[in-house]
Subunit: 343 residues, 2 copies
C-alpha cells in the first residue's frame, strides 16, 4: 500500500510500504477515506535530521472498517469511523477520567504503527479508539468529521481547560488551524468576547467567521498593549496559546488577567516557562496540553452532524497522494492553512 | 511606638517609629495583640542588601480596634479583628471574584505602611480588610486565629487550587509552616492520602498530627522514587509545592500524576519553570500563588472557633519585642518552625 514517509527536513515521500494487517485480537483494519497534515508535522518537516528508514507520518484519519478482531465489539465491516490522534482502550483509569492521552494501553500512530497519511491502518484497541459516525463514504461532512480526530477537539480542549463558558472573554494566540478551532470551540461554549491574535488576514477572516469578535495583528509588546486596551487594561481571564514558541507564551502571560488561566495547545518549542514570582502574585494558572480527543468526540459529534458547527472550513486545500509533498510545502510556506488528503 | 525594621541580611531591629495614625476615612487603627514571622520574611533576612532607611516587617497580625474612620461600618472600638496579609476593599470585581490579592484598591503591609510586627497598625480599607472574631483579648485561640491572616489560609489555597476534595491523594512538598498548614487544609477537605515530603522529624511529626498519612524524608531523585512507589508508580493528582526552589518545583513535576495539578505556595526563588513538551504530553497544570486569604477567612473561622482544627500548633516559640531578632535567627537556623510575637 502507499503511505507517507518523512526522511528528513523537507523530504517527504509517498511510497510503497508493507500492507497494514491485523495482528492483535483487539485490532481493526481501516481503509483511510480522509487524512490530513497537522501543524505539528511541520516541526519535523522544518528540522528533522536525515533518517535512513524514515518516519511514517499522519495521526488524523477517518476511514471504513475492513476487518475487526474477535475482541472488538460494537463495530463492523463497512462502518465509517473517526480515530483520535492517539489510540486508547477507553476503559483504564486514565481513560475513565477523560485523559485518554495517558491511557495505560494506548500509544501514538506512526513510530512502529501505520501512519494516518496512508491508504490503510491497523488500529490497536479498536473498540476503545474508534468512534463510529453515521454517514456514508461520500458524505460532505467528512472534512468536518475528520477535525474530530485532532484539530477541533484540540481547540475544544483549550477552551475547556481555560474555563471558557457562557459570557467568557478569551484571547486566542495564533491563527493556524488550532487557533481558529479554539475560536470556534470558545464560541460554541458561549464566549462573548474572543480576541484572536494573528497577522494573516485570510486566516483571521475565517477566525471572524468562526466567532472572533476582535482581531489583533500586532505581535510582541504592541500586541500585548492592544489586547490590554481592548480589555480595560486587564487582559482576559482565559488565554489559549496555539503557537508553541517562547515569545507566544510570554505574550500569553502578559495578556491574561490576574487569576486567569493560560491553556497551552501549541507544541512547546521551549523547555522552560517564564513563570516566576510575578505570576504567583497574579495567581496565573498554566494548563492544557495534548488533547484527550477521545473524551470529547461524542460530545462534539452531534453539532458537526447537525451542521451547527463546520470546523472543516480549516481545510483550504485538498490533495491526492501524489501531491502530499506539495501539501507539506504549502503549509510550511503558509500558502495553505491545513491540507486535506484524499487517498 | 515600637516596630520591627530590617536593615539588611541578618540585621533586624525593634525600634521606635512614628506612631500609627488615622489618615483616610476608610482607615481603622489597631493595637496589635499577636503577630508573627513568616517563612517569606526569611528570604530578605538571608539576602537583603543593606538599607539606610530599613524596611518595616510583618504582614500577619491580629489586634483590637482603637479607632475607625467615618466610612468604616460594621466594626467598632474594642473589636478583636484578624487582618489578611494584604489589605483589600472586598468590593471590587477582583475581590468579588475571590481574588483579594489583586484588589483594585488594595496593597501590602510594610513598604509605605505600618508592618504587622509592631505595636499598632493603620489599616486602610478597614471595612473590607478586617474580619471580626468573637473572642476576647486573652483568648487561647489567638494563635490559631492568627494563622487565618496568612499561613493556614495559604495552605488552604494550595489545597483548593490543587483540587483536593474528599478521597483525594495529595503530595505536600516542604515541612515548613506552610507545608504543614497545607497538610491540615487537605485533611480538612477530606483528602485520604497525604504524602508529606520533609526531612525534619519534629516537623513531619506535627505533619502526622495534622493528617499526613506518609512521610518521605528523601529528597531529589530518591524522594521522587519513594513517592512513585507509594502511589503505584503514578504520583498523586494533587501536589502542593511549599518550598519555592527550582529543585522542589522539579520534584513536584516528577511526583504529580498525569493530568494532575501542582499548586505553588512557596515564594518562587526561580524565574523559569521547567515545563516543556513533556508536561504538555502529560497535561500537567501549574496553579496557586499568593493566597487571597480574605476570601477564605469566613469559611475557615468556624472550624478554628469550635476547635475542630488547631492550626496554631505551627507556632513552636513565642517571643516579646525584645526577642524578635532572636526569633528571626531561630527560624533561619530551623530551631523554630514559626515564631509568634506577643508585643
Amino acid at each position: 500500500m502507499r503511505a507517507t514517509v518523512m526522511y528528513g527536513a523537507g523530504d517527504v515521500r509517498v511510497e510503497n510500504v508493507p500492507d497494514a494487517t491485523m495482528r492483535e485480537r483487539t485490532d481493526a483494519l481501516i481503509r483511510v477515506l480522509r487524512s490530513c497534515i497537522c501543524g505539528s508535522d511541520l516541526w519535523p518537516y522544518n528540522s528533522m535530521e536525515p533518517s535512513k528508514h524514515g518516519r511514517r507520518m499522519g495521526h488524523e484519519f477517518l476511514g471504513v472498517i475492513e476487518d475487526t478482531g474477535p475482541e472488538v465489539a460494537g463495530l463492523k465491516v463497512g462502518d465509517v469511523v473517526v480515530a483520535p490522534f492517539v489510540w486508547a482502550d477507553n476503559t483504564c483509569d486514565f481513560c475513565r477520567a477523560g485523559l485518554h492521552t495517558s491511557c495505560r494501553h494506548g500509544g501514538q500512530w506512526g513510530h512502529a504503527l501505520d501512519g494516518g497519511q496512508g491508504e490503510a491502518m491497523r488500529v490497536p484497541q479498536a473498540q476503545g479508539t474508534l468512534v463510529k459516525v453515521p454517514v456514508g463514504e461520500d458524505s460532505p461532512l467528512l472534512a468536518s468529521l475528520l477535525t474530530l480526530s485532532d484539530v477541533f477537539c484540540t481547540g475544544h480542549h483549550g477552551a475547556v481547560t481555560s474555563r471558557v463558558r457562557r459570557g467568557s472573554a478569551v484571547t486566542v494566540l495564533g491563527d493556524g488551524a488550532v487557533g481558529l478551532s479554539a475560536v470556534l470551540a470558545a464560541r460554541r461554549l458561549g464566549a462573548e468576547r474572543i480576541i484572536l491574535m494573528g497577522r494573516h488576514k485570510d486566516r483571521t477572516d475565517l477566525g471572524r467567521t468562526f466567532g472572533a469578535t476582535d482581531v489583533v495583528a500586532e505581535r510582541g509588546a504592541e500586541g500585548i498593549t492592544r489586547v490590554r486596551e481592548l480589555t480595560g487594561g486587564d487582559g482576559t481571564p482565559a488565554v489559549i496559546e496555539c503557537v508553541g514558541t517562547e515569545q507566544s507564551l510570554q505574550t500569553a502571560i502578559n495578556v491574561v488577567r490576574d487569576g486567569g488561566v493560560i491553556s497551552r495547545l501549541g507544541l512547546a518549542q521551549y523547555t522552560h516557562v517564564p513563570m516566576g514570582v510575578d505570576t504567583m502574585t497574579r495567581n496565573i494558572t498554566l494548563t492544557g496540553g495534548a488533547a484527550p480527543v477521545r473524551a470529547y468526540m461524542e460530545e462534539l459529534l452531534p453539532d458537526v452532524l447537525n451542521g451547527s458547527i463546520d470546523p472543516g472550513q480549516v481545510f483550504d486545500r485538498t490533495v491526492g497522494f501524489g501531491e502530499v509533498p506539495d501539501g507539506y510545502q504549502a503549509m510550511a510556506d503558509r500558502d495553505a492553512l491545513k491540507v486535506l488528503i484524499r487517498p
